[in-house]
């Protein structure tokens, strides 16, 4: 516990507290997108607009989580490996487990911050009003829905080259965001591509959050879908990690 506390403190300052670009791209940019798309580029009846402002808030919360995990965390883990941090931690009695737990918890914390920032933006600028229970459910499900994305980020971090990681990260983040209906409603996509979008982990959580804010009926497939993604990616992360450890990855040869 002492180690995890120290690791959390260490990581919080370097990853969040003193890292302005991470704060901007992961939190402020989705908030700016939210304002742009709900206050400038909008049309429809007052009722449709009110619903859109709530649902789009959920989409940007999920999108923010994607940016945190797939662009921020994946690159952070890769760079920590390149800079020798994970290798050094491997040599210590507590190993790398506290490090990965800390990065995971920080990622979730960032997601909570995203919920707060986007929630405040939606409340202050767009007059969105939700009950305390709804906010709690949003926060809780945003965190659970973030888990498969974090695991995907960990998988991406195994890519050895920063340039490749950046390309692959973009190739996953933006198509997944569009296909799962984070940038605009999924019903606006061609009918043939929608079934693909509806299999994305971000779709399940976004659909769930959208139903929470509109007091809609919760769909069991969203829970199953999220659980399947978490289970599948967890297995993949364990398998790849074991393979890399066996290969002696990150070790300087001489």
């Amino acid at each position: 516990m002492k180690t995890l506390r120290a690791q959390l403190k260490f990581d919080f300052y370097r990853v969040v507290g003193r890292n302005r670009s991470f704060q901007f791209f992961s939190i402020m940019m989705p908030a700016a997108f939210y304002l742009l798309f709900t206050r400038v580029l909008v049309s429809g009846s007052a009722r449709e607009l009110a619903t859109f402002k709530m649902q789009y808030m959920c989409s940007m919360i999920v999108y923010s989580g994607m940016l945190i995990a797939l662009m921020g965390i994946a690159e952070l883990i890769m760079r920590d490996r390149d800079r020798g941090l994970t290798r050094w931690l491997q040599l210590t009695p507590t190993g790398v487990a506290p490090y990965y737990v800390s990065i995971g918890l920080l990622s979730l914390l960032m997601n909570v911050i995203a919920v707060v920032v986007l929630g405040l933006t939606a409340t202050v600028f767009n007059g969105v009003r939700l009950s305390a229970g709804q906010w709690l459910l949003i926060g809780g499900w945003a965190i659970i829905g973030q888990l498969p994305i974090i695991l995907l980020g960990v998988l991406l971090s195994f890519i050895d080259r920063a340039e490749t990681l950046s390309i692959v990260g973009n190739l996953i983040t933006f198509p997944m965001a569009i296909l799962s209906g984070l940038w605009w409603p999924i019903k606006m996509l061609p009918a043939w591509i929608r079934p693909v979008g509806e299999l994305m982990p971000t779709y399940f959580v976004n659909d769930l959050l959208g139903r929470i804010v509109t007091n809609g009926t919760l769909r069991i497939t969203n829970f199953y879908g999220t659980a399947t993604w978490i289970g599948g990616l967890l297995v993949l992360v364990v398998v790849v990690t074991r393979y890399r450890v066996k290969r002696g990855d990150g070790v300087v040869q001489s």
Binding site: K2, T3, R5, A6, Q7, F10, Y13, R14, V15, R18, N19, D80, R83, G84, L85, R87, W88, L89, Q90, L91, T92, P93, T94, G95, K246, G248, G250, V251, V252, Q253, S254
Partner: protein, 295 residues
């Protein structure tokens, strides 16, 4: 006394390229071991196997009676590997605090910084330090767990003269405290001075292990230097002489039989000045063994 490190028939290859072949040695508690060899001789690979960061495909390795990488071993281990941890947005003090938190019983970071004269760097960002400063911080991190066994891979690279001197003084202090140290370095004169035993790797094989004096015995060549106006040619034909060179610093003869060469020099004595005779240093023997080639 029970050996702290036991290595038996250790072998390792990267693909088809053998890096270590049949390496067997032991290290006793309190010993300082100088692990030397050319670039690519397998020193760092051996350290990585000992640390458990590379899987051991062949042979046996034990540290403190456990396999490499065992958490029981890690609690007693400090390592200073090549390549320092250089993170942005992290200060030296924060790095050392994190390092201290990895151990159940660690040294007090503030005191260690003070002992190693690093207090002035405490609030400096890691990525703003010079190479030598980073090595000193990495050394502090290696010591923070108060380890019984230290692995130091090229610890003084980038350090200025004062920092190197302070480092080697610290090494002697560690020896006095009974710590066991395995150190690789290209600063052979200092290794010769500080190491109790030398492990010499050549082409992945352990070609010598023992005290430096035993290495000298084995390669008992003597170096004779002097100032002389005479040409070098006749000296090259003297008994025992293997090389004779004349440079600005004077004449240098390397001989396998110092006594006979000195007797052969008697007729020339009136033209020889500032004559010195000494056995080859570790660096000389290293050059002799490796043929002076750099990889």
């Amino acid at each position: 006394m029970t050996a702290l490190i036991k290595a038996r028939h250790v072998a390792f290859s990267y693909g088809q390229h053998p890096v270590l072949t049949d390496v067997t040695f032991t290290v006793q508690p309190g010993e300082i071991i100088g692990l030397i060899g050319e670039n690519g001789a397998g020193k760092t690979t051996l350290l990585n196997l000992l640390l458990g960061t590379l899987p051991l495909p062949s042979g046996q390795l034990q540290l403190f009676g456990h396999g490499p990488g065992d958490s029981a071993v890690k609690a007693h281990l400090g390592a200073m590997l090549q390549g320092d941890v250089v993170l942005p947005n992290v200060t030296v003090g924060e790095y050392l605090q994190l390092a201290a938190a990895q151990f159940a019983q660690s040294l007090e970071p503030q005191r260690l910084l003070s002992d190693l004269q690093l207090t002035a760097l405490k609030h400096r960002a890691l990525n703003g330090l010079s190479g030598g400063q980073l090595r000193r911080v990495t050394f502090a991190v290696a010591l923070i767990g108060n380890p019984d066994l230290l692995f130091l891979d090229e610890p003084t690279v980038g350090m200025d003269t004062n920092a190197q001197r302070a480092f080697w003084q610290r090494m002697r202090a560690l020896r006095d405290q009974g710590k066991t140290v395995v150190i690789t370095s290209h600063y052979l004169p200092t290794i010769q001075d500080v190491a109790d035993r030398i492990l010499l790797l050549q082409g992945g094989r352990l070609v010598f292990q023992g005290p430096f004096e035993a290495l000298q015995q084995r390669y008992q060549r003597v170096v004779i230097t002097c100032q002389t106006p005479l040409p070098v040619t006749p000296f090259g034909r003297l008994a025992g002489v293997v090389t004779a060179t004349k440079q600005a610093a004077g004449l240098q003869l390397i001989t396998t039989d110092g006594d006979r060469t000195l007797q052969a020099l008697v007729p020339y004595l009136k033209d020889l000045h500032q004559l010195t005779v000494h056995r080859e240093s570790l660096a000389d023997i290293f050059v002799q063994l490796t043929g002076g080639r750099a990889k």
